[in-house]
Amino acid sequence: MTRPTLSRRTFLRGAARGASVALALPTLEAMLPRTARADEGGLGPIFGVFFWANGLPWHAGHGSAQAGPPDLWTPGETGAGFTPSALQAPLAGHPFSVVTGLTPWTDIPDSPAGQGDGHMRGFMVALTSDRPRSEGFDHPTHTLTARRQTIDQVVARDARFIGDRQTRFRSLELGVSTARFHDYGHWNAISYNGPDALNPPEVDPGRLYDRLFGAPTGDAEAGRRAALLDAVVDDAASLRARLGADDKARLDAHLEHLFEVQRRLALDDIACDDPGRPSTGGDLLSQTGIMAELLATGLACNLTRAFSFMLTSPATTHAFTEVGVVTDMHTVCHAGTWEDVHAITEVQMTCFGRFLDALASRVDPLGDSLLDRALIYGTSEYGEGYKHGVSEMPVVLAGRADGRLVPGVHVRDPGGNMARAHLTILRGLGLATPSFGFSGSETTEGFDELLA
């Protein structure tokens, strides 16, 4: 493929258009740069992925007035102090920056056919900065896997991120909608440890509650359960010795997880506010609130610092009946109306806002909220559902990452490399990373204007 040759600098800080700078967020304070707190011996930054399905409403172009359906995503101004676009309005009470114009730079192997499909290529680049794995790729059955771990696991497993502050859960995977395009692969989960190794999300509030606040820990019974796992691991040795390489890798993943389960059982109990057994049901927005509040309670008592939150799964078949759209979303994107896709995207962005509300509402005694500590990466599987277009991937970076992330900036980089967003995330979390990206998307450049 040909690489875009435009210099990203052309588009920075609104210089290209001389856009006026306006502080549109409700609280002026929210926009002010903060002193980095990362070295103050706090609990450490939080990283989360917020994923929604099927991108944005389609339109003829981005970033400028145009004929046809309007672009309600790209803010009209670039640089610091941009006015959030109409679709970003639900986020506007919170600190966030946005990058527009990014696209996969990953190559597309000729064979097997179909590896350029937006649901697949766009998803993989948004979560791994790589292309789908060619081996085993089968477009007709939509079977594919990642070549490597997703960005949430890159962070969660980084020894520097963990430091000496190991949490009860290395990461948590949550979801809201149970609608599925398929029951396998990335159609029902967005977090990978590696090829085929998905971390399926917990979508049941009751089970999430039990896992976070109900598990036995630290007592004699938990000790008994933890101790016998040594024998389970020992018992696997005679099996492991006889397996071929691929099967051995699967067994080893199992055993590694077993050590984590054992470690958790043996931990002393952590004092958490008991949020009470959650209610269930309601529309997507209320379910988002239930899951986000449970997560926020868990984050506040430091059960984890890394998570993914799958509002809807890739190519979701969720039917947004709350806005009168009875046909499933994937079909609506292909064969429905722009108005319906717009209404659906508004719901999903409202859910994103509700999710951020939960993080912002948990404030520690020093006055910092979970969102002040967090870097939340909001993204989807492609730009536009209509053609599965990946030319304008949505990228939201919310929170302040303990002061390392600068909110309130719109960076526009048409044709820019999606891997730069991941590099920016890693650096924003204080993880010095010289370069990132794979299969043609390798880059050494993050978006420095988003980093303090």
Binding site: T141, T143, D183, L228, R242, L243, G244, R250, L258, K387
Partner: protein, 548 residues
Amino acid sequence: MTLLVAPPAVRCDMRLAPLLLAFLGCADTSTGPAAVAHPPAAEVTFVPGAFGRLTTRQYRNLVEDLLGDVGEPALPADTNPYLFESIGATTEPLSESGVQLYEEHAAAVTEAVFSEPGRRRALVGCEPETVTDACALAFLQDFGRRAYRRPLTGTEEARWLSVAAASSDPWVGLRSAVSGMLQSPWVVYRTELGSPDPDRSGLHRLDDHELASRLAFVLWNRGPDDALLDAADAGRLSEPGGLEAEVDRMLADTRVRQSTEVFFEQYLDLARFDRSAPDPGTFPSWTPALKAAMRSETLLLVDELVYRKDADVRRIFSQRRAFVNDVLADHYGLDVPGASPITFVPVDLPPDAERAGVLGLGAFLVMNAHATETSPTLRGKYVVERVLCSTVPPPPGDIELDLSEETGEPQSLRERLEQHRDDPACSACHALMDPTGFLFEHFDASGAWRADDDGSPIDATGALQGQELDGAGALGDMLATHPSVGPCMTRQYYRHAHGRLDDDDLESVTLEQISGAFAAGGHRFGALQRAVVLHPSFRFVAAPAEAR
């Protein structure tokens, strides 16, 4: 596109392995002109065995056989790449939360049994005085054999004994040992490793216990019973006729019905039907009860054909028979005395009815439609891919997919889809799907019959692979004898039973032989099951790459 199916008796190439020849009925070289009158066949190529986790249902069944009813504490959900949970189980590693669920499951089910004195006494069969007395030891050996589906090794026995001995209370100790065994990878997974075949280098033969396990989970969807374990202990599965005797016993046992149901649920993709949601505004009669009835009728149709009639299973596409309860009878416009919410009544439909076989039932019609309107493309795709095993190439990138473009006057769905077929970028693939899907146009997106489409006449003409047809009844009749249907069902069942995709380059001979035996057995489903598990590919595997 059509696979040629040779009769099974032709492949008596005497260079083949003796067991393969035995399978093909060629063992006695002195008899039968068939043994010498036909050209030699290509040799079977063996592939490495799979290493699969038991599916969630298989694991639950195993635990139920071991401990009795312990409820259904959460376990990780199965995934179904290429339709089958067995394939997900051999490819996807367990996640961390999945491993935690096994740990919690083991804690919960052992709590249920060991917290009740009567229950634990019944399980163990005696009252242990100490954790290391004869009672405890005998129990651990017996429980271990049934959980591992083979006798425990001395090391394993010592390991679980020592886990038990860590508690002073023998009941707590035994509970720990049981809990540990239930989490052992030897129990949670199933191996197809075998040991080197002395006669052929590079080839492994499954040992009798691996074979017993494989037979049981494939044919019963649960672990081996005592009789099968005894046969494996005694080496009878390696003796002449011993394997056949066990297979015939298992196929005659009612436990085979669950595994057959599981196969058809996945082959017919009922999990996708479970997620379907027709718009209740468009279809006011759509209710959860109606949906549940549609699922049930599909499995009732299969069960009757396979177990009560033992008939040519390809008739699932053609027979004019429905099982309806009251809501389904209403939905299908049938007057069925005796139908109630819980009583499904078999109904013979007219021989020329459009509602033919499973493709005339709600599950297929609804899952391959959108919320408010039908999708000839999805319905055709299902028939072409699922029933005929043809593949439809992916759509080209950056294509116009909006079929609802305003063009001044309303267009029918057929007219809109015609745009696909006029556009050369789309036509090649849509021509494979849409003409077949149009045959179902008399059935709306809720599976109900419609004489017209909002006043417009219905055109249910179409084609299958270029052959013009009129209506779903004609399609069903054609599928019941179509030369691709048997080989395709063979391929699907083979994938299900082997837990992996077949490799055309390596396994075409195997598949031809099995589908030949399926055909020779009158396309009865039992003949297909028997052919798959008795084929040498079920007990011989290539050595793992590192071990070769």
